[in-house]
């Protein structure tokens, strides 16, 4: 049934890059009367399903907002629970038969990784190294990330680059800034889905979403299903001609 549905969808353009803000895990836990952290675990299962649907339909790049720099302001116990879950699932990606293995996914951890604990950072670096040879699909996990921090980092790296070159008099260009963006390893997203109906981007991919369809279904992240992914792709297909015209105008 799903493969028939995907065959029909593939008659139109498929987004190259689908981005997700996984909002609503805590509200889900409250709604289902679950314990602390259980909402995030349920959210993880939803993430795995969404990744499978996207890779099966032919989306090459997927990015997810796993943890914002602003999220460090949460209660220390909650931050620890989330970090423990991230560590557990990151180490899981190294195992045989993991989703990275199954779908040939190259994994990037994108953000200010120096803000993470050594354990999580080392696990992330191991996964990036272990999956570096995968070429079928790409997963960008935005962790300790905000757009503003990304811009600051990019400007810093541009200035450091210019300082290294003796007698360098040329100005910093837009292409230099974009080269140093954390998200520079992927093309700009074509569609961004934020679950739980919230209409803001919360400091996520603000730079990259100039020509990106924004979609906010009211379902909480653990409730996100195949239908939401399909509806997102259909929305993308409806706006495809409009954005192609815009991109051509810019060139």
């Amino acid at each position: 049934m799903r493969s028939c549905l995907f065959k029909v969808l593939c008659m139109g353009p498929i987004p190259t890059h689908f981005s997700f803000i996984m909002d609503g895990n805590r509200r889900y836990a409250k709604k289902m009367d679950m314990g602390e952290g259980a909402g995030h675990r349920a959210g993880f299962f939803a993430l795995v399903s969404v990744l499978k649907y996207c890779y099966e339909v032919g989306v090459k790049y997927i990015s997810v907002y796993a943890f914002s720099i602003d999220n460090f302001k949460r209660r220390p116990e909650e931050v620890k629970t989330i970090m423990d879950l991230i560590l557990e699932k990151t180490e899981g990606l190294l195992e045989e038969g993991s989703i990275a293995d199954q779908y040939g996914v190259r994994v990037y951890f994108v953000g200010n990784l120096k803000l993470l604990s050594e354990q999580v950072r080392i696990a992330a670096e191991k996964v990036m190294e272990a999956t570096a040879h995968n070429t079928r699909c790409v997963l960008l996990i935005c962790i300790a990330y905000t757009s503003c921090d990304e811009i600051v980092n990019s400007v810093r790296e541009c200035c450091k680059d210019k300082m290294e070159v003796v007698n360098e008099h040329s100005a910093i260009q837009l292409v230099d800034i974009e080269k140093h963006m954390y998200m520079g390893v992927a093309p700009d997203p074509d569609i961004l889905l934020r679950s739980s109906g919230e209409k803001r981007l919360s400091n996520y991919q603000l730079w990259q979403t100039t020509h990106c369809t924004l979609y906010s279904p009211t379902a909480l992240w653990p409730e996100i299903s195949l239908l939401h992914v399909v509806w997102g792709i259909l929305k993308f297909q409806r706006s495809y001609a409009y954005f192609e015209k815009k991109k051509k105008k810019m060139l």
């Binding site: 065959k7 029909v8 969808l9 593939c10 008659m11 139109g12 914002s68 720099i69 602003d70 999220n71 302001k73 949460r74 905000t146 757009s147 503003c148 921090d149 811009i151 600051v152 980092n153 400007v155 810093r156 541009c158 200035c159 210019k162 300082m163 100005a171 910093i172 260009q173 837009l174 800034i177 209409k199 803001r200 981007l201 919360s202 400091n203 603000l206 730079w207 979403t209 100039t210 020509h211 990106c212 369809t213 924004l214 979609y215 259909l234 297909q237 409806r238 706006s239 409009y242 954005f243 815009k246």
Partner: protein, 251 residues
């Protein structure tokens, strides 16, 4: 050989018929979606009329004080419709909106800013207000006009300004680059506006069309449809819904 060619030709035809069938199904799905959107638009138009008539009491008292700064994004092709833009601004002024930004990617609105301000009874350009006026309670509507040159290009200019300072100080300190420093540099190059609380998008698709990334961290982004379908009722509803939003800013 002849038989093999016949079989190959036959399976090719089946494949083509199959593809044709799938394409037909895909077109039918999109036709149904378009019909759905048409019906929804008609329902919205009726609702908008009812809201404008004042029959619904909840929309009568808008808590406009929560909306400190509003931004309106307009599709550049529609930005030439100055009379529609002025009508929109008059509605917003009547609701009590005092500080706002009008944005279109190509800067069409910037070119006609003087004529737009002249057509309004009691409006000024935000750039003409001094620091003292900005701190005081606003007496009239102050308008900012922005385009893509205030977004990514603004960050490039700010980066070059910071590089000149960094180079002059011979500073190798990475702590030199902070969000506050970038913010200061953006203001120095003319990208001064504050972060809007609400961004209304008048375009065929819900996206921010390159509104300055630095200023939309926690901005609510609401799609209003194309400018030709603008109505007082839908504007009232969008602002009312904004006043009911609760943000936790990542916490």
């Amino acid at each position: 050989m002849d038989r093999k060619q016949k079989v190959r030709g036959f399976s090719c035809s089946i494949h083509q018929i199959g593809n044709l069938g799938l394409r037909l199904l895909w077109s039918m799905v999109h036709l149904l979606i378009s019909i759905g959107y048409f019906v929804a638009a008609a329902a919205k138009a009726v609702e908008s009329r009812i809201i404008s008539s004042g029959l619904l009491t909840r929309y009568k008292e808008l808590n406009i004080s929560k909306l400190k700064y509003l931004a309106v994004v307009i599709e550049s092709d529609d930005a030439v419709q100055t009379s529609k833009i002025v009508q929109l601004l008059r509605w917003l002024e009547a609701m009590g909106v005092k500080r706002m930004c009008l944005y279109d990617a190509q800067g069409v609105l910037k070119k006609s800013k003087d004529s737009i301000v002249k057509m309004l009874d009691n409006a000024v350009l935000l750039e003409e207000l001094g620091e003292k006026d900005l701190m005081e309670k606003p007496k009239c509507m102050a308008l900012e006009f922005a385009s893509v040159s205030d977004g990514k290009e603004g960050v490039v200019k700010a980066a070059n300004l910071l590089f000149a300072e960094y180079k002059e100080l011979g500073n190798r300190d990475e702590q030199f680059f902070t969000e506050a420093k970038i913010g200061e540099a953006l203001r120095a190059v003319g990208c001064k506006g504050p972060e809007p609380d609400l961004l209304l998008v008048y375009a065929p698709v819900r996206c921010h069309l390159g509104f300055p990334a630095w200023r939309t961290r926690y901005t609510e982004i609401v799609h209003m449809g194309s400018l030709k379908s603008m109505s007082l009722g839908s504007l009232t509803k969008a602002i009312y819904k904004f006043t009911r939003v609760r943000q936790n800013y990542g916490k």
